[in-house]
Symmetry: D2
Subunit: 353 residues, 4 copies
């Protein structure tokens, strides 16, 4: 079996590490090249302790990336995953894309249709001209555009959780478009690998707290973009991210007013129609999801309830922020671009427990 | 200093254990008698490992309670805390109350004004006649009624979190009364001391999950009762409890539509007016609370934000479900009934970290 | 590719659940039949929430096992994993073994050479006659005997951790044989799936404690059997198991007196000679392992230090108690019995983080 | 009641924060002055979120400390707790001590009898001349010297755990002096408040790992000093610190060879004779301690077992590294220096759970 030759830029971060895990187990992908800025010159084993002792990975040397290297790298690579800070990711991705290498970017850089929205949140975009060529990598809602895509923007973790839960309800017009509330709890790996006071174990491990509320979180406009696309009209949300004391997982509890005739069953039906037998499981009546059940898996779970007394629809989703929320989803989008089944090479089952 | 002689029925549960901690450090209370059903005959040290080695507590023998014992116990005790399963708590509390012993009940039995509401959630009430004599022990909102109260119903943990956050907003008419959403995350001690599959560490420790959503949780009608009292009109809420992977703490994120002129500052002003320098801290602009900051403390913290884009008010609260959410609040209510300052004998500072 | 047809008895426990995860991802194995006692009649999705939504697994019905079913099951199955309480596991395994189905048993029933030792710890053995035919499934130390083995006893989790760390030192006579201390910390999944007061999250999540110390733990004789085999003389150990507040992982810190000329390097050399490029990584000088680095992986890590001041050798090992310590090891032994490379179909990389 | 006027230097660290909690609840102490280097100018509420809303604490301004301020501070303060990095702590403490203010130092600076030992681990000592005037603040073993002490060195957390467990055995000559092993697991708050990669939640929360083994940890010589004093001969230990995934607590498992006639009961008797009814509980036969049971408490627990097969004595201890292992112990030593009962003003009961 011929394998695609894969490179990862930004391998030392958490989404990079998760890509290493997933790519190395994927039968159609072969990891050829890894790059990092501050870690260049080290072996992968030095930087990712989980690969120590694995022949072929542990000794792989992390290379520095210089723009001029693209000329030789394009001979060695079919696809590059870029997992860098924003702006930097756009620049590096653009070099590979122009050299003919397929790019899957895990930063926010290629996710926005509207350059003004991007720039109001992230600052100047260094590659505005490429935005129109990028495809948003949420396969469940952008499958057709992703065919043969050469520049894929892997979605944000909170965005994935929100859109998987709410998308079918807006698509099928089961809920009113205002107000929509997303109350979401994330494991701490979502904050990245850099140690910060806010992620220091003693101040994070045995409590829970909200942060960046009331429109202050960067995923707000991205959630709104995707929900608006599905709804066919401008959607505004209130998004309340919270830091929960574990490593991986997002639970989104979403609230919206029901439209006439809505029911939990109607919501489930809409979700089953949207997601089929794929990587999003729609839980049965009365089942509520736990982030533990999808940890390390490429799958998400959604569940619905309806509160007749207040006419509110409750939409729940769980996923692993580093896997279905980032790296597994990036590979799922690559799979879709290549015409392979979504789940190709991806872990379906979480470790339980 | 003369001390009140205190008894605890149901000492082996978590709220009982917390009462032991708090009563034994309270300068005006003296623990005289502890009772438990399945633990009768054991020493306190056998049942509560944290008291091992503490002279005067460790060797205290847990007694069985028989109704006829009230006659002698009324000589030995000034106040009894009852922390038993519902119905049973009502029965035992009634015996002490009729014998002239002050009763602070930590079950749901004396919390409801409307007997029909109680019975639809908990089954037949064995002491209907006493409901009218009970006082609801949320001191911040019922201070006057609690003066000289002889039968106090300590509020539920989720109820306290919800009402402390939302009460000032309804009182000052800063929010619309519908829809109101309470998305609340609790530590696992809220589920009680009995081991269950749902609290088994491997299936609970590294994830988060909702349960009893869409009106299915027993605290729903109690929250509604208290919010309705404050609002002066019937309030309905959607309440979404979630099990978070730590022992102690509740974070409530509440959402409501703003009324004209509302602002985060107006919410803070209302809360400061309601809570003064007491056991509820109102956080400053931009500060968001963490359950860790009040763990083990008798204090709660509330914080407010306003999302102008959607006209939604966000009200946050944190407390320790066993302390301000249960046992410390029970003592605070006792303090109020005796005319002592709220914080008398109570721990103000959480362990940090 | 022809696949072995696999059955699992005791699928609802944690080692059963881990077998489902691993077998379903193994290219040479095909899960055909699952059985459970109290869960019979339910679907796998009802009992293992992590499989919900996975076509072909979620709807699989858990069957009751009756002895007379062996006659038909032997047509359907090539290999059966038995993961039942002791004695019961021996009985069920014997039925399949006699019917010609290969058996990998995850209980303690077929692990002991000496029936008296077994019976002093576990009670009467229902299938004494089969002990001599069983092969101990620690591939690193029993590879030759496992070739073509038809009845395999998968080792205990603590035993694996202890023997992987100490085996090379005893084999190469780098340490004295007395005293040997194993101070081992296990995640709570090692206690099984049944909820118990000792595994109730609030009393287990934010502390650490020893249990069954000073020879009281059942893994003591099993560790001693295996170390004695390697040493060629009777070894006695002190084993101190501890419950650590996470789900998966064992860290063993082993202490022994050095023999003349010992050094950390000599220990590493011995371990590298023993383990080669296989599933046990020998960490470099100065590297100390973390259970997190092998979580969910079929691999273990070992590391060595030498304290010249006291002439004590320190041997460390980490593994995932449910994976390399149980189910992945069971499959590794199956792989070895079939002549396949150890790592066939097994996850090498932990999720990191 | 007249209260001692207290100052804290280094209030923003974890031992400083714990001092704030304990001093503010102590009836004979009154917090008058707090100082910090990088936090000077902020309020205590900004730096310690747990004090927000507490009148009299939250608004307290953290002051910069300049040497010349001692002249005025000596009028305002009776006792100063210094909780600074080593060398710096010695310098600041010396200024106060010479000005006549009682000093309790929580750094390592005044703990060592032998200046050479100190300097080989910590570098040059800036106040060598004061070492002979310092008293080691482990009250249980230095009560007499602490009477009227004006310069107290509060012991290290691991040291306290080790000495409380092993002291009685060496004192009563129940164990051989070699080899002695201390295998100790600490919560992450022991690493201090500064965020580091090694304390970043995702890489620390769901695993356990050793660090600084085989004599590399700075507490090794301090443990050896104290054990040697008690034994009356030079003691060498192997000390294996481990980072466990919770905030507070140390579990030490100590191993030593028994001398003739030793038994677990003899060990318990020795410990009971040493510790009486004080802050160290000696657990009964068969009881093993959990760090959870002393969390936040000023108390420690010890427990003993004897393994006759290997003639090894097992000595266990648990304590809260920030409380009995640091700040509560510092206050206990202050209490002793003033002739007050050890437990004066200190929390005896952990929160349970």
């Amino acid at each position: 079996m011929t394998q695609l030759k894969v490179g990862i830029v930004g391998v030392a971060g958490y989404t990079g590490a998760e890509l290493v895990r997933l790519v190395s187990a994927h039968p159609k992908l072969s990891l050829q090249w890894v790059s990092g800025a501050s870690t260049a010159g080290k072996t992968l084993g030095e930087v990712l302790p989980s690969v120590r002792g694995v022949t072929g990975l542990a000794e792989l040397v992390i290379e520095e990336f210089r723009p001029e290297d693209v000329e030789t790298l394009k001979q060695r690579l079919d696809v590059v995953f870029t997992a860098l800070p924003h702006a930097e990711s756009a620049r590096v991705g653009a070099l590979f894309f122009r050299a003919g290498v397929q790019v899957v970017d895990l930063s926010a850089d290629y996710r926005f249709e509207d350059i003004a929205t991007y720039e109001s949140w992230y600052g100047e975009h260094p590659e505005k001209g490429l935005l129109s060529q990028a495809r948003y990598g949420l396969v469940e809602w952008h499958r057709d555009e992703l065919q043969h895509a050469r520049l894929i923007a892997a979605p944000g973790c909170y965005v994935t959780a929100s859109v998987l839960a709410l998308g079918p309800l807006l698509d099928q017009k089961l809920i009113e478009t205002s107000p929509i509330i997303v109350d979401a709890k994330s494991g701490v790996s979502g904050a990245g690998r850099k140690a910060k006071p806010s992620t220091h174990l003693p101040e994070t491990a045995e409590g829970i707290r909200p942060y960046s509320v009331a429109g202050a979180h960067r995923h707000t406009p991205e959630i709104e973009q995707e929900l608006s696309r599905i709804a066919g009209q401008a959607i505004k949300i209130v998004f309340t991210p919270q830091l929960a004391p574990f490593s991986r997982g997002i639970l989104a509890c979403c609230y919206a007013t029901g439209r006439p005739g809505v029911s939990a069953q109607a919501c489930r039906d809409a979700a089953r129609a949207a997601y089929g037998q794929g990587l999003v499981a729609v839980l049965d009546d009365g089942q509520l999801p736990d982030t533990l059940w999808v940890r390390g898996s490429a799958r998400a779970m959604v569940s619905y309830a309806y509160d007749a007394r207040t006419n509110l629809v409750l939409a729940f989703s769980v996923l692993d922020n580093l896997s279905k929320g980032a790296s597994a989803q990036a590979i799922q989008a690559l799979n879709a671009s290549r015409g392979w089944p979504d789940e190709t090479g991806l872990p379906l089952l979480a470790q339980f427990p």
